[in-house]
Symmetry: C2
Subunit: 387 residues, 2 copies
């Protein structure tokens, strides 16, 4: 069964200079980018042909993706560490220089404003590598009356993601053996033909991968071509972040799977909240209250019956039990590896038990669904064989 | 001469639920919207066919535009008025209940974060009707340590713009004679078939016009159809905000003509800054310093020689004098009424005098330009005749 064409699949034109181009924009167009979305006020390529092929390129080889839209909020100054801890419920007391942490940024109500990667470049030098919201404004706003000595800006930094099982070999060719010392969720300072870079072993793919943070926007085209050339013997393909792979891995997309009305406990991200630490952070009182009272909604995985979905959902599909709405599908897709329709959803906590049966309402009719465990695919556990 | 097709004119697809749909989304598609851009994390229709026809529809009749992307930041509570004054350099002491003000939101450096319309709905009830940046996060961030008793949220409010010389008659048919009491930059509370609305005599067109703020997202389709039906005898057309008309009027587009690195004085918006008022506001010290030292850049109008531009600029075009860059074009377009290429630009102050000659570098070659006065078209002054 085919989804009917949905109306936001229309073409969008360039409408002036209101939306910025990435330093890799021209390179991605040269390498086949045919469609763009918008994220943090910038164009992001999201179409290099068949998304299923993009997925196989990622999981069997390697893909290079322009994620310059992951803007950095840079926090420096004598009080930088105190200030950064104020922004997140995660206990950062063990975050060493050179380390990265996945963190949630919460507001005074405990609602999630963003889920960036925090990079600690020096004792008093941090980057927040952002999902899609203006945390620069949030952080500058919080700083106004904080009495803390910090400087907050968006530096000239534009990340690429090199992801997939072959990414390690490509990085070795580019940077030599020293790249092997880079551990999961650590970062290092590198150079390529004099291009200044930060590299971290992070990504949004659940595969082996690297993020390469260009620190000179004028050299984007050059960097892209150097990496593509080094990757050529390994079959490196230009690509985009794969919705299939990230949903398989249970990774979250801001605005889709959570927003400022979502709290960390609803997502099962209790490990990112430390209510016992001495340091204060924004949202602590609200999150304590939620922890005491318990949550009313919970994120779950779903398997969706019926024919393969031909595309991701472009609406939040209602979830029904006995004709009563008990939640909504936030991200749904067909996994060609699992040969299953899989989804992330937010449901009332009393309907979140594994094995719960429900129905969803889509633009192309109703489907039966069942609550299942996440991640949907884990190379260490899954019986699904890699193709 | 034709512009070469620029690469961000590629199609963009729906890529999931990360970007929100307006309550008018389905209605706009039904009425012919063929392309969308993204603004404040939402789709905005920007293509109802020929943009020149959209311009004539606006200036000779009336157009209805979905501007639900103008999200509202609602500020309420006993300290709301004090807090709102803290957000803007404009002196709000004379802002009455029921009044609207065009304001700039500045950060501690005096840089512009947004240029919303402020609506005062009650003594302690304000909306900021936003351009494209997350001022909700800025305002919530500022509030954290402010010690002020305010509540800040994004309410369920979605504006439409009904603009053009016929908009008054259409509004009269919809709301009766009481609408005539609504003065320029004032607002009122209205209902249409039980649909709760706020209406203000504002807009982004330099034409007679109204903004209609729907206060119940579930009734967007109904509201759109009611207005289109009432407008039918007056030739009302569905449309989008007109880049041609707003540039003719010298109106600014956030991210294009200004951003957080721009200060109000560079834009000639001194009237929106009161450095003498007693109340403190964020950016006051920085703006005092800039006022003392003088500005180094200034916004100007340009006329561009040569054949008609076939579309708005999708890059910031460099401006050269004697082969040295002295500024950049921020918004350029062909005005079919003036039969001129017109542009807004930011240039070094020493090259900002009226009559200054320069060159611009575009993807389709160089053009001669000349600094001219803004607005380019003023119905009270211009000799250009209305068609």
């Amino acid at each position: 069964m085919k989804n009917p064409p949905t109306s936001n699949q229309s073409k969008a034109f360039g409408f002036g200079t209101q939306i910025r181009k990435s330093p890799y924009f021209d390179a991605t167009v040269r390498w086949g980018a045919a469609g763009f979305s918008v994220y943090n006020h910038m164009y992001i390529p999201r179409d290099f042909g068949d998304p299923e092929q993009n997925f196989w390129n990622l999981v069997n080889g390697a893909t290079l993706s322009d994620v310059a839209v992951e803007r950095q909020v840079e926090i420096t100054g004598p009080d930088a560490a105190t200030f950064v801890q104020m922004l997140t419920p995660r206990n950062l007391s063990t975050c060493a220089v050179g380390q990265c942490k996945y963190v949630l940024i919460t507001n005074a109500d405990g609602g999630i404003l963003n889920d960036p990667i925090l990079l600690r470049l020096a004792e008093d030098h941090f980057w927040l590598s952002l999902a899609d919201s203006d945390i620069l404004l949030w952080a500058q706003g919080v700083a106004v009356n904080s009495g803390l000595d910090v400087t907050i800006c968006e530096p000239d930094v534009s990340p690429l993601q090199l992801q997939g099982p072959k990414s390690g070999e490509i990085m070795q060719r580019l940077f030599g053996d020293q790249i092997n010392d880079l551990r999961y969720y650590w970062l290092g300072e590198f150079e390529l033909d004099g291009i200044p870079l930060i590299i971290s072993r992070t990504g949004w793919s659940s595969e082996l991968g690297y993020e390469i943070y260009l620190r000179d926007g004028a050299r984007g085209d050059e960097l892209w071509e150097l990496i593509m050339a080094a990757g050529q013997p390994f079959g490196l393909q230009p690509g985009h972040t794969s919705a299939i792979r990230r949903i398989e891995g249970g990774m979250l997309s801001y605005h889709a799977d959570m927003d400022r009305h979502t709290n960390p406990f609803e997502l099962g991200l209790d490990r990112l909240v430390d209510l016992e630490m001495e340091a204060d952070f924004i949202g602590k009182a609200a999150l304590k209250k939620i922890a005491d009272q318990g949550i009313s909604r919970k994120q779950v995985g779903l398997e969706i019956d019926g024919d393969a979905l031909t595309a991701a959902n472009n609406e939040f599909w209602p979830i029904l039990i006995a004709e009563k709405q008990v939640g909504q599908v936030t991200s749904a897709i067909y996994s060609p590896r699992l040969k299953l329709n899989i989804a992330l959803a937010m449901v009332m906590v009393e309907h979140s038990a594994l094995g719960t049966d429900a129905e969803i309402v889509t633009p192309f009719g109703r489907r039966s669904v069942r609550v299942v465990d996440r991640p949907f695919y884990d190379p260490k556990k899954s019986l699904a064989s890699k193709v």
